[in-house]
Subunit: 340 residues, 4 copies
């Protein structure tokens, strides 16, 4: 067997633990050597749970460990760029959670460091690894529905996060819709040139008081002229709603929601099927494993990750354009930037 | 326009009214001239409702009316054979509800009269005209699923009829399953050679006390060796359950249930769709019109109805074989009879 | 039985024939006495086919016939307003196809005439009578999904009409999307206050050369703040695509497409179900009968049609706003007009 | 963390490798210490692939290893009973693939040894751990559909195994239907008292020449009077078909097939969805992990496996009864045996 890839996980919050668990138990070719968290107890409990030899407080212990070849960055957004630069300078391969940063200039600087160092870099757009969406993108690429004309993405969370979190999240477009911006590009492989956003606060007035929105419809135009429309809500009481549709000159591809089982009941009240999978942990369980498998594979076999820095950057650019459109009540043009 | 076909309807009960309404309002080429019922008031109310010029007590008034070219027999089963013979002798075309009779000899005699007279004769196996099943039969005939290996028919009523009715119905196999016996032959176009029945009284003990069953599974073998299995219940609380499946060497055709709409709700309890159409009036609404259109067309344009006397006879033979199998706990062989 | 309502049909084109057929054969309480068309032969062939006693060239023959109580206006759009005024002045009840006119002032004048005369007036928004959509609107009204937050309407035709037709159609928003504008109001019972449109010519460049578009996404805001998004295409190769979804605080209602049957095939290539019903004639067959039944019932029993002049007017106002938004690349505010 | 359970796997064929892989990579609390196969190379390649320290030819090396607490028996059926007895006498916990044996007496003797020794014993009825079926059984147990009246199980393989295999398989009822016999008992928690089988050779005449069948319908009666019907085929070209339905006094539970994704295409040929998961490796991937997790949990925490020796025995008894019924063309009564 190939030698195991040794990794360090930075951040032992919810998403850090997912990656730690997957790397430890579901990816035979990987081994997590160390996990760090500013809250040492968090790191220690994760280490115990996922059989990780060392738990530390300072992520520099990971960066400075000669044994570790790659880092998985799951710390708060405002720490990402610095860590990317530090990891790059140590020639450590990088998996970074989304968004890379909320500032375009900062992202570009970090990606420049990655580029110079030549390390592998993958961004955590896990939905690209979901079987429903990856199949859709593949079929579009194979021309099964001809030229895309309309892309529809529905993305609704089961419940909003705490208002305290929202205040530092960068706003719905950069925190939540960012996944859909990436999906819009992923499904057709085309770039977006125009963004127009409508939104409001319909779920919880406190969200509005905090300066954010909880419901939105974003319309975009691809370079080809095709249209894309995203609709978002922070609260779908029936569960996590993650659908997409690509309509083209020769047909239409649809991705429906997943359920825990294909078992249903027919009774006096009609036909019933189970609620959709509750939230991203359940819905994208497979996808989280698959994205990390790709990262491990890319590092071990010198391949380029399919979702890289440019994807992380573009999604932020679209999020910022949507914010502008919402504010100025007009279409915002996204210039084709010469990036990196 | 072609001259309208003038018909008389015998029997103003539930099924007689369906045919009267369809002929009067939904089949432009037909006109009901007279309706009869031993209960004259029933005939009169139907006449008012469906714009029929004459209501009579004695069906001979219909048979003796020179203006009327065809009769629709919807009276109790034990009157069918006599009416068929009388109509035949007057050269009146005949549409007869199922079953023709409960006695094989009586049926044969009636069909002999039909044959001698040369009139058109159609039996009321309305399900053959249902879009789901007719499409399935067509696709099987076109070889879309290769050679049939297993046919599955599910047929469950929403609620049992009154026990008083059951006592004179001929038993579940001749009253209810008879449609499924016909469906088994219709879906593959093949004849049955063996019948094996299991059944019991699970819905309502009074049905058992009346000597009948309310739940059954009937397994049959086609001449080709293919198998067919029917399951029946007198009480499906979720509505009329009418499904079929033909599994063959190259695939499987499935017919699902129909609902009043394709509208559904997703809420905290999961995904819900409407109950199935309640019972045969709703489920086979289109099919009742279609079968009568075929009858009118056959008479007007000298064609042979697709579902004839032999089909009426065969279904009764299978029903009787199922009764025998249930009683004797063994497979009953249905001899290929030289009929008519 | 109640005395039959006698009607005249103006226009023997496609839609005029649908209404003539339904009134003649599927609505027992109605009788078409006369049909007119500037092309007399068209009127005559329709009369033959639907058993209508008289065919005329000049619709004034209908208006002047003392026997006729109601007219069904199915002539070209630019003749509607004048006919509405003439019919009103003769105290004839009016069913008018959509759009009433392309000019807001002209519509208002016509509706004023209707109002003064006190005749019944119904606009041909047939989709409101479709079982899928009417159920959705009913459930929304009953609060089944709480407060609506996002309404999604997908409406795609199987193939574009001839370019010659498009040139006089008023443009996609007034010819095609107009139904969706009405649907947006119907599903929630709320008024729209903002319209923002994106569109392009992706299906056929000739449509663009004729100054029209063939693909569009329209985002609107209800008075309540809820959002609505419509997507349209003139060409869906898989059939007529007519879906809607109302997402609210307590759940989501979805309306799927209809198929000719519920029969499917599983074979080596996967699971297959039939294409959707081809176009509006098939998809809204029931709805056309139902809307005309309502009209006949309203006239006979002195009720107010559920879809009236104001609905015809509002849909045109929204169509014009969408045109403006598309041209000016900005959100267009629809003022709450004091109408009539 | 709890100390890992150390296991040995006997047999490195297809099913042995599945269990080895799951224990090694997907069950953190387990560790495979040794794998044996009469073909040493097979054992060695599995050891390499699943990171197992030792590969041996003779399974006694596993039984004699003091470090190993539990065995997973995946060798040919005719070796099971002996291994069960040997393992029991060494106080080793046992997971045994189905069927335990083809002879009722032999099974009873082996189970007696298990009982005397007090070791944990679990039989490999993996389907009980499938989310679709386990949910169905749970809902039946909770009374969601009232009293069961009809159970329908469809189980069709994508392709028959080699005829050479079939010759030593014990026949379709003991090799393939055995899973469905167990499912029949699992879904309702009730025992079967009557078995009636129909079958034939429709897929491949060579199977018939080898004395076996490839298509069957088995009807059974539960002690309560409820009916169960199983239909089987060795060849469903559209993929592995694994469905079940429990119909009862208050409703009906249905389990549909699973697909690789919920992505579909609508095009000119209609609506298409993916083929079902190909075969048991794909369909029951999760279930194989879940059953082994239960086994590990039962051993580590002194619980009784939910699927034990009695279940292994009963399924064989039903298989033998079906063989008898097929041969003698009559219903076979399964006596309620006083077992163990």
């Amino acid at each position: 067997m190939t030698k195991k890839l040794k990794l360090g996980v930075i951040g032992a919050g919810r998403i850090g633990r997912i990656h730690a668990e997957n790397l430890s138990f579901h990816i035979p070719g990987a081994q997590v050597e160390m996990i760090s968290d500013v809250n040492l107890e968090s790191a220690e409990s994760a280490a115990r749970e996922y059989h990780i030899p060392r738990a530390v407080k300072d992520y520099h212990d990971i960066l400075d460990c000669k044994d570790i070849q790659a880092v998985v960055i799951c710390s708060p957004t405002n720490t990402h760029a610095k860590m990317i630069e530090e990891s790059s300078s140590r020639k450590m391969h990088i998996f970074c959670e989304k968004p890379i940063d909320l500032d375009v200039g900062t992202i570009k600087k970090a990606l420049q460091a990655v580029k110079s160092s030549g390390v592998k870099f993958q961004v955590g757009f896990n939905r690209r690894f979901d079987p429903n969406f990856s199949r859709a993108a593949k079929w579009v690429g194979e021309g099964k529905i001809g030229t895309p004309h309309i892309v529809r993405i529905t993305s609704r969370d089961p419940a909003p996060p705490p208002v305290e979190y929202l205040k530092v999240s960068g706003g719905m477009f950069l925190d939540m819709t960012i996944h859909d911006f990436d999906m819009a590009r992923y499904l057709t492989g085309e770039e977006i040139v125009e963004v127009s956003a409508a939104g409001g606060c319909l779920v919880n007035p406190e969200i509005g008081n905090a300066g954010d929105i909880d419901t939105a419809v974003v319309t975009m135009r691809y370079k080809s002229g095709a249209l894309c429309v995203i609709d978002n809500s922070r609260k779908a009481v029936y569960g996590y709603d993650q659908r997409a549709e690509v309509f083209g000159s020769k047909g239409c591809i649809t991705c429906s929601n997943n359920t825990p089982s294909n078992t249903g009941i027919w009774d006096e009240n009609g036909q019933r099927k189970e609620p959709f999978l509750f939230f991203f942990l359940e819905r994208y369980k497979e996808a989280y494993v698959a994205e990390m498998k790709e990262f491990v594979d890319c590092v071990q076999n010198d391949k380029t990750p399919s979702v890289g820095g440019i994807d992380g950057l573009k999604s932020v650019i679209l999020g910022l354009a949507a914010q502008k459109s919402l504010k100025e009540k007009r279409i915002v043009r996204v210039e084709g930037e010469a990036i990196l």
